[in-house]
Subunit: 371 residues, 2 copies
Amino acid sequence: MSRKWNFYAGPSTLPLEVLTELRDTMVDYHNEGLSLIETSHRSPEYDAVHYQAMDLVRELLEVPANYKILFLGGGATLQFAMVPLNLLTGDKICDYALTGSWAKSAYKDAAKLGQARAAFDGSPSGFTTLPVNGGGSGPALEASPSSSYLHITSNETIGGLQYKTWPVPAQGSQVPLVADMSSDIMSRKIPVEKFGLIYGGAQKNLGPAGVTLVIIREDLLERSPESLPAYLSYRVHGEKDSLYNTPPVFALYGVKLVLEWLKKNGGLAAAQERNEEKAGLIYGRIDRYPEIYRCPVEKAARSLMNIVFTLDTPEREKEFLGGAGERGMLGLKGHRSVGGCRASVYNGMPLAGARALADYMDDFAAKGGKT
Amino acid sequence: MSRKWNFYAGPSTLPLEVLTELRDTMVDYHNEGLSLIETSHRSPEYDAVHYQAMDLVRELLEVPANYKILFLGGGATLQFAMVPLNLLTGDKICDYALTGSWAKSAYKDAAKLGQARAAFDGSPSGFTTLPVNGGGSGPALEASPSSSYLHITSNETIGGLQYKTWPVPAQGSQVPLVADMSSDIMSRKIPVEKFGLIYGGAQKNLGPAGVTLVIIREDLLERSPESLPAYLSYRVHGEKDSLYNTPPVFALYGVKLVLEWLKKNGGLAAAQERNEEKAGLIYGRIDRYPEIYRCPVEKAARSLMNIVFTLDTPEREKEFLGGAGERGMLGLKGHRSVGGCRASVYNGMPLAGARALADYMDDFAAKGGKT
C-alpha cells in the first residue's frame, strides 16, 4: 500500500524519515543490543535522548534561560487540571478566553478549582471570532488585575481558529499569560518571554501521542503548593528535569526525532513558511469557489493548522469525502461535534499533500460539486 | 551487535517478537498507508487495538464483569494521587502497608490528601519482611473499619519483596483492597475479585513505558467526586472507556502485542511457571554460595520479579557487574538508593537469560568471587 495523505487532526501525520528512523532503531537501538524502549530511564542512552529533546525545544523556540522545559504524561487534558492546581493563588481567580471547544474544556476544569472567569466569550459568533488583541474582530481580551493567570488556546483544533498576535496582559500587570498550544506549538515562531506557561500535547506537530510539553517560567514553579501530590506538581518535575518518575520513553524519542527534522529543515521560520504555503493553497480554493466551499471562521482568525470548511449539504460533503478517499486522502471529516470537513496540515504534512487536496478541490468544483 | 540479556528494572526487556512486530508495522500499519501512531484515536484501526488490549486484560486476568479496565497516562506515580483523590470518603481515612520505597511514595501522596495510616511498617526489619497475611513473617495487616481503602504494593521493585497471599480485609469489612502491581501485574494469576482497585505501569511486564493499567470495581467509580478535574476522575475515564482524551497510542499497541504474546504462550499460569523457574535459578545460586552472595529479603517474601542480592564488598560487586557486562548482561546494578545488585526477570526475560546469569554466578563463585 502506498503512503496516504493523512489529514487527521491528531494523532496525525509524521515526517516519513522520522518513522523510518523509529522503525530502524526499534529492535536494536544504535547497536546497543536492545531497544531504546527496553532501556532504563536512568541509563546514559536514554539520558541523551531526554536532554537532547529538551535542548532542541530550547533552541528551536528560543526559550529564555529562566524557563524550565518539562515532558509530562496525561495529555493536555491533565494540564487543564495542573495549571489551576499549581498556579492559582490568593482568591483563586483566573481568566479564560473562551474561543472554542478546547478553551471551554480547560475553563471547565479551572471552574472546579477556583473562580474562573470568561474574559472573552466567542459564543455570540458561534466561536468563529477571536479577541481583537489576538488578531480577530471580537472584544479585547484583558485579565483582571487580581487574576492568578490569563489562559488562552492558541489554536482551536475543532473550530479552526488561531491567534495571530498575543493578548499580553496590560503593562505593569503581573498576570502571567498561559497558553494551550497543543495544536500549533512548533509550527511557527513565538515570543516565549511573553508567556508564563505554555503547554501542548505532542500528537499534532511534535511527535507521537503520549507526551506533553510544558514550558514554564521558573518563578512560577514556586507557586506549586507543597500540599500537591508529586505528579501534579510542576515544581517536582522541574526539580527532577521530568525524571521524577519513568517518562514515556518512546513518545519522547519520537519528539526528539521530529525536532531534529525541524532543525535540519530550517527551524521554525522555515516551518512557518511551509505551513503558510500549505494552508494558503487550501484556503485559496475555499475562497475561489464560494458556491462550493465555505469556511465559517472569520478570515483574520483562520488557523494554519486546522482548515475547517463546509459544503452546502451533508450529501455533498459525503460525496466530497468519498472522492478524497479514492484519491488516497484521509482524515478530512470534521470533528463529530461540528460536522463538515477539516483538513489538518501540521508540520508533518508535506506540501505535496496540501497540493493534492487543493487540486482535488479544483476538480470537485469544476464538476459543479461532484467527483 | 547481538541482543543483550537485559535485567533492567524498568523500562525492561520485551519479547523479541513484539519488538519485531512494532518495527514491521512502524511505517505502514497493516497496509493502511500510514503508521498506527499517525492514526486518529477515533479511527476504527485504533479502536480495534484499544478494545483488543482491554479484552485481553479481561481474559488473561479473568477480570469479573463488574470491573472496568482503564488505560491512563502519567505512570503509577499519577495513581498515587488519583487513588486518594477518587476513593477517599467521609473522614478521608486510608490505610497503607509500608513495605518499601514504592509503598512509601504512595503513602506520602495519600498523606497530603487525607488521613493516611501506616497499617504495616517494615522499617524495623529494614524493609525485608512482609505482613504474615501477605506471605511474610511480619505483623498482620488489617485496615481499620472506618478506612476508605487499604493500599498494598504487591511487589517492591527496589527492595525485592513480593506478596504471596492477599491480606483481604476481615470478613464483613467493606474496606476495598487497593494494590499497586506495577512490577508484577500479569506475571501470575491473581484473584481480581478480592481487590477494589489494581493499578500498574506498563513498563515492567506489560509493554513500553507511557501507559498505566487500572482495574476498578464499578461501584467504586461512583466515589469519584464531581469536583475532580476530568483527567483525574476514574469515573470520567470509565464512562469513556479511556477515550476521553487522546490515549498513548504506541504504548497501548505495545501492551496489546505483549498480551497477545502472553496468551499465545499459555496465559498467566504458564507465565507464572516460567517466572518461578527463572527466579528459582538465580535464588538457587544465591543460596548455594552464601559466602559470595546474600539476599537481604526474608525467604518467604522474595520477589520473583526483582532479585536483590549483595556481595561482601563494593569492590567485589563492581567486579561482578563488570564480568556480567563482558558476558552481555546489563542492568544488574541495584537501585541507586540501596546499592548492591538486582536482577529483574520480568515476563519478557527468556529462560536462557536467567540461565546465563545463573551460570555466571556459578563461575564467579567457583573462582572465589572473581571473574
